[in-house]
Symmetry: C2
Subunit: 570 residues, 2 copies
Amino acid sequence: MKVLIAQQNYHIGNFESNKAKMLDAIAKAKDQGADLVVFSELSVCGYPPRDLLEFTDFIEQCEKTVQELAAAADNLGVIVGSPVRNPDAAGKDLLNAALLLYQGEVYGQAFKTLLPNYDVFDEYRYFEPASNWRVIQFRGIKIALTICEDIWNLGDNPLYRICPMDQLIQQGPDLMINISASPFDYDHDKDRAEVVRRNVEKYKVPMIYCNAVGAQTEIVFDGGSMACNVNGEIANTLDFFSEDYSLVDVDELIRPSFPKGKADYLLLNQEMRVTRANDPDSIMQYLTGESNMAQIKEALKLGISDYFSKMGFKKAILGSSGGIDSAVVLTLAVEALGKDNVTALLMPSGFSSSHSVDDAVKLSEHLGNPYHIIPIEAVYDTFLNTLSPLFEGTSFGLAEENLQSRSRGNILMSVANKFGHVLLNTSNKSELATGYGTLYGDMAGGLSILGDLYKTQVFALARFLNLNGELIPGNILTKAPSAELRPNQKDSDSLPDYELLDRILYLYIERRMGPAQIIELGADVALVNRVLKMVNVNEYKRNQFCPVIRVSTKSFGTGRRIPIVAKYLS
Amino acid sequence: MKVLIAQQNYHIGNFESNKAKMLDAIAKAKDQGADLVVFSELSVCGYPPRDLLEFTDFIEQCEKTVQELAAAADNLGVIVGSPVRNPDAAGKDLLNAALLLYQGEVYGQAFKTLLPNYDVFDEYRYFEPASNWRVIQFRGIKIALTICEDIWNLGDNPLYRICPMDQLIQQGPDLMINISASPFDYDHDKDRAEVVRRNVEKYKVPMIYCNAVGAQTEIVFDGGSMACNVNGEIANTLDFFSEDYSLVDVDELIRPSFPKGKADYLLLNQEMRVTRANDPDSIMQYLTGESNMAQIKEALKLGISDYFSKMGFKKAILGSSGGIDSAVVLTLAVEALGKDNVTALLMPSGFSSSHSVDDAVKLSEHLGNPYHIIPIEAVYDTFLNTLSPLFEGTSFGLAEENLQSRSRGNILMSVANKFGHVLLNTSNKSELATGYGTLYGDMAGGLSILGDLYKTQVFALARFLNLNGELIPGNILTKAPSAELRPNQKDSDSLPDYELLDRILYLYIERRMGPAQIIELGADVALVNRVLKMVNVNEYKRNQFCPVIRVSTKSFGTGRRIPIVAKYLS
């Protein structure tokens, strides 16, 4: 039996475009003589559909699309992902299904058992878990069909009390097929290959694993679908970060013709996340390592380009300050959208250093994108003059700093509104964590590119982007970070050294350590308390922040839900 | 046996203050000769703690607080709510517990079975459901102890497959005690009394029901705790929207000394939500009814005052435009925070009508709060002048309208930053739904007061606020709504009539109807499609909006999770 793995990029709720893509793949599978084509989880409607699942109308459109795909299947088997209604009156209304379509009908089906409900996932909000399991016999092959998370409990995942493959294996399957929507973070590809391999090892049955690809607002699906033969060797791998197809010979997976150990399989990461080293050097190496940067770059580019193409936008704008954050965003945006589609606004004030404009001009000259210089002094002075009846007798402070930042935000949004651009945000994760940014000012924008990268990671990414020749001027990489909102200001006036800061933030945000644990690892008591307090009191700012392209295991946004009104470590 | 119901207002994560409150109530219970005092769900840490539950440090502080309360209990029984660690290695790490503390120890415990995971709730994200049930014998009374949602499946709730009281009733309990954190919406108090009564009717056992009170960012807990005797009569009721205590005689609940039907019980709403009438008049009556307005007023005041007191703020600021929305927010804020603590900024432009400033001045004169007039023309003109190199040759449009709105937002935030005020947002639900507002402009603010009220409801609330004498000048109530961002602008230039609009929005947002269903109820096809598209394409704006005090069954914010990048009815 031959199976075409179809790794595609879907548009949530765009049934026509998703169907057209799947029909193309069905035609391709027929051309290539495949018996079966496999699509990813919830391929019919796109993943994650979130509360659109609460609309009966939305479910009806899923059902209609499934019928049309079934009609097109003919003698090809077609495995699609779709929400289906729960036939049982008890339990939630919907099931998360993998449907095997064949000769105009639903020939077989499997429902998801393990429903992720952590971080960015909310599946138990919508779906009832499966409570019985059946292998599907197709063309003489007994298929154990599962969905994403279903293969992530090998008996050692404390989130779940059940393991669907333990049930299915009793029916003697020949092949496991898993359809997934498993998102990117800079560890997850290794975890994923490891999980596939461990399932194969445990059940002694090969696996075909079809993942989604493409960015859905903040979540990037990175593809990397694969087939793993019965020896635990990855026999087919599909591209990361782009659509891809691979025709798999199931007989070859079941009875590999090459001897064990000879397959070109992925280098697997044996080290589990929880046992990762906690010493400062290991953490910094983990955060800023070059191989991570290569992946992060691709993930961010896909995040940008899919946001624009799926929203129907073409042109971006951003404030180019001459600093490292905007330089990295501009470089990535130019790569993702094309240099003519990204406009940089340079908005110096009286507090801007002379090199800021020069560095930003040099950057845009390297990249070839349009830029304009719009000084903000007249606007800022008029604001101060307008406010003088109220501000008289007060001294320069945070209000005046924020006023500059918001004047820039206002100019950027005006130009964006006038010419139909989308404002790209340039805040980094260290700033967002500590609240070192101005709401409606430098925190404005439709999409955050660097919001899941700590400042030290932004520097590492900048160095990576310069590896094949200087795009970002050297001066931007070497000068001390500054918001330039008061004379001779430096980030280090308000924030600890970024290496120290980022390590504490990582231990608190990604690793959920409390102050005692972080201090035990060698950080200063007062510093830890100060940093954790900064994180917690600024929840209200992040709550109004735009979506952040997620690249880590714990990004701000939908995956991290902290009360705004609370008093904890604050 | 005598039980003190302690209905208290907790601060999430503020263990010291929560403990102090509970210690006070313990002392009070001892003074009054109670055998048992009952606190609400997760009283130890406050509800909802959300992802703070992922911090081991946070759980340790819960445990420490429980130990301290147990030490104080002595011979009083103390029922508190707290997260506890799941002793079973399989399943999620935590259980949502009701602990009966007695003589320094945990004398009995019950875990929550039905974990709400819809709308604003995410409990399955954190907790493992209970899988066994035991009544607790205390002072000769067998108590069936449950937590909130546990009593909301009477065999007819399709969300759940299990009913914990069906298990507990087999052990012959004398009394049901339910500890809750059940939030307000303008139906929910009636539902709640009905659920308590139906449980009593089904199991023939009286119930003590302790609810939380107080606002937690966007969620308002309205209290209204109660005891229901075995005849299904509500024998004790506690206040709505404030802390309250009531000493209940359990013997009286079990064997009422007055004949059935004589108790002063609440008027119960027999009509289930799903059977609510859909005709235009019924919907408008439902949305704008006077008894709802009385509750909504209290909920919003509590929402405002708790936000300020729990965040440690005292002073608010808002833009007072002379329109209905800002007038209602200002009136509520003055009632909640005191007139000296609410500053109104009147920021006329060249497009403002002459009566706008007059009406706003008159309003503040009625209310007695400070106000300042800050014209924005100079700022607006300077922005236009600064932008002229880019805007030359273009005509006045959305960019210029938004620029005015953002100039006002910038001025409001500057004054807020300078003097430590919090900006109150004045957007209403009709505007937020349709995207009729400017991001970082009139959509700015720390807390939205009216974001869960449609425009027709804002008018109804304004009329209600004027019932005991005119606070809001009559002209504000009668003039046609306008954003005043271009000459002679009216909301009706861009939006349908608000009665038509709000009905469609309600059917789509609260009732999750698709276009076909809404059209079937008599709405115009083109209008429905236009409105639904407006709602869906503006998800990105709402995503950056501040928390909205929730008063309906479906508010924007944490309870409504729609993908930003999607194409559905858009």
